[in-house]
Symmetry: C2
Subunit: 101 residues, 2 copies
Amino acid sequence: MTESQAKHELGILREKIDEVDRKLVDLLNERTRVVEEIGTVKRQSQLPVYEPKREDMVYANVSAHNHGPLPGDSAKRIFERIMDEMRTLQRNKMESTKSQC
Amino acid sequence: MTESQAKHELGILREKIDEVDRKLVDLLNERTRVVEEIGTVKRQSQLPVYEPKREDMVYANVSAHNHGPLPGDSAKRIFERIMDEMRTLQRNKMESTKSQC
């Protein structure tokens, strides 16, 4: 493969990555909206915000559905980051709700 | 909202999260497959594997497409984790290819 052919091929593959990333952003926002709804329900009913057992269930769902090529431990670390970001958002929202009381 | 109503509502919302997460896993695997193809093209044409400018383009694409509620800095940190995991996979693959030579 010449360098020019390789660069052309890379351009096509990178457009695919960009398309996948846009879909990932959409899904992450959809997830955030549902997490916000969960936060609202918990605040209204005074259920605990942080439930470690539920996180284990999230990892179990991810792991059961992951058939590769992404290794299981990589998938877990990515979801750790996703949940960590969303937990922080919820915590900030709770703090700002409290400060309005 | 009673505790029982809240728990019922949470169950429905968590099923939505699980569904979103399964779609996320599918997309992450699709992304991994394209990254592997990119790695193959780069190895065949001896182009550099790590290109920091390309990473900036990934963040720019993500940022331009992110209309919230996920904040931009949260989205960036999630994609940092995704790219970091995929870079590690590529590096491991290169090491194992070298050791076969």
